[in-house]
Amino acid sequence: MTVVLTPEMVGQVLISGVLSGALYAMVALGLALIYGVMRVINIAHGPMLMLGAYVTFFLYSRTGMNPLLTVPVAMAALFVVGVVLQRTLVFRVVDAPELSSLLLTFGISIALVNLAQNAFTSDLRSVEYITGSWLIGNFALSKPRFIAFVFAAAMTGVAFLFLKATRLGKAIRATSQSREVAMVCGIDVARIHLLTFGLASALAAGGGALLAVIVAIQPEMGGVWTFKSFLVIVLGGAGNYPGALLGGLLLGLVEQLASLFLTTQLSEVVAYVLLVLVLLVRPTGLLGGRQT
């Protein structure tokens, strides 16, 4: 099979890649925050995204609320869920061996998915809000994807500003650099952990809410997002927050590029091969290891 690459195709790939990359970056930033601050990989990150998507779906279909206005509601709701999970379960395994935190969040993850299957059924649901594309020259710009991109980019920007400029953000970064030193400096580390888990869940929920506008949702949609978010932070360099941005864009571009050559059926395979290759060649990621 030969595919002739025209400039139009390359341009289209760049556009679609950047559009989906921003969403990847936003969701992965959440996973990166939890990992950076607590050294816990939250397997339930994808299911949190799924719950965020359902908040948007139900607010839209039951109350007719504008889906874009539901995004902050979904984020706030899942912030609370995240804080509750951290406060009741996850804090117990923060200092435990990795096996414990992986298994615990895995257990939470399958429980959440099953709860959603029982409560919401496994039917595919979609939010038909904005459809169609803008045509700019030879390029098509999908309206829902573009709006999701703008939201995701804005929220990722706000999250970075928060981490960079506010006292709480600095406290989060300090905790992720060294918990002991942060503690000595008078930072309430347990509270920072709560806040981090809440924020991370809110970022995932925001991603889910935007995703609900783009694609049909169902309870098992989250699993692949845990995996892809992890891939994004590995690409950028685990523990390196700006790396998540780069990793997200890269994953978006690679996936779109691959879609020129392969069926979408194999898009997960592409992401997987990418992960294995990065681990083989440059496991510290593109921007290198832990800096904040």
Binding site: L89, L103, L104, I110, T226, Q265, L279, P283
Partner: protein, 310 residues
């Protein structure tokens, strides 16, 4: 272990083996099939225990080895005309090759890389199996020529379970096993002691893939028909994990105890509540990790000062 207890345990295991060996002669079809499934779960749980129980590296995708073994076995039986016992061995080999492909890049690193890579593996293998329709039949699945071999497979699966239990005992009592457990307790210290952690982890991982591969090929032959959703369900991995955690990870008999106990409970009680099954399993994982991290056998070991080799 004193001599009298040794004799007692020896006699007990011998009578259990004899009873299970003559069981198909008078057992009902349902009974034989259920016992066969218990053998399979012992083999699967015991295999998961080899990598995750001994080294502490969590495999979230062990069902991929089961599925790849099922497909390798089924394809060799249908297309190449192999006999099912040889095809079952080939299923084990296929699983080991897949494990090598994933283990080589992921186990060189410390930390969560391996766990996440395994989390994605199952979906990827399933997508590939569905994609290569010419070989695998795609979503239509693959039918094997009819043959009534359930009773023979009963014995082979039983043998597989015994081999895995005995292998676990040999590993746990060997220097190799001690090194694996050192990696679990403190990988940096293990490295400092001169243990080649990468090759030890990889060896444990490859060994842990054999059982699911063979079991998959045997199950494919027994059921006569496989399709991607029937041999790659996440639920199988979850069940393996729950069995080992419940019984006691890193022990010889913990996976056996967990497999038998959970299978019986599942058949008697939970079969009536299929919709909340994953919720229960998720809750058990959370509860065991927080409240009983050593599992039932680990608790007994601690309380009654039982030997580590139980």
């Amino acid at each position: 272990m004193n001599a009298r207890r040794g004799w007692f345990l020896g006699a007990l295991s011998l009578s259990v083996v004899v009873a299970l060996a003559i069981y198909p002669a008078f057992g009902t079809g349902y009974g034989v099939r259920s016992t066969l499934q218990i053998f399979m779960w012992i083999a699967l749980a015991g295999s998961w225990n080899l990598i995750s129980g001994l080294t502490g590296y969590v495999s979230f995708g062990h069902v991929a080895f089961f599925g790849i073994g099922a497909y390798a076995g089924a394809i060799l039986v249908t297309s190449a005309g192999w006999s099912w016992p040889t095809a079952a061995l080939a299923g084990g080999v296929a699983a080991v090759l897949l494990a090598l492909l994933i283990g080589y890049p992921c186990l060189r690193l410390k930390g969560p890389y391996f766990a996440i890579a395994m989390l994605g593996l199952n979906e990827v293998v399933r997508a590939l199996v569905s994609y290569f329709e010419g070989l695998t039949g795609g979503g239509n699945g693959l039918s094997l020529p009819t043959a009534d071999v359930t009773r023979s497979i009963y014995y082979v699966m039983g043998l597989l379970a015994v081999v895995i239990i005995a292998g676990t005992y040999l590993i746990i009592t060997s220097r190799f096993g001690l090194r694996l457990m050192t990696i679990r307790e403190d990988e940096v210290a293990a490295e400092a002691m001169g243990i080649d952690t990468f090759h030890h982890k990889l060896a444990a991982f490859l060994l842990s893939a054999v059982g699911p591969g063979v079991a998959g090929a045997l199950t494919a032959r027994d059921q006569g028909y496989i399709e991607p959703i029937s041999v790659f369900p996440l639920a199988v991995t979850v069940t393996m994990i729950v069995m080992v955690l419940f019984g006691g990870k890193g022990t010889v008999w913990g996976p056996v105890l967990g497999a038998v106990a959970l299978f019986v409970i599942q058949e008697l009680v939970w079969a009536h509540y299929p919709y909340v099954h994953p919720l229960l399993f998720g809750a058990i994982i959370v509860a065991v990790v927080l409240l009983m991290p050593r599992g039932v056998l680990g608790l007994l070991q601690l309380k009654y000062h039982l030997p580590r080799t139980i």
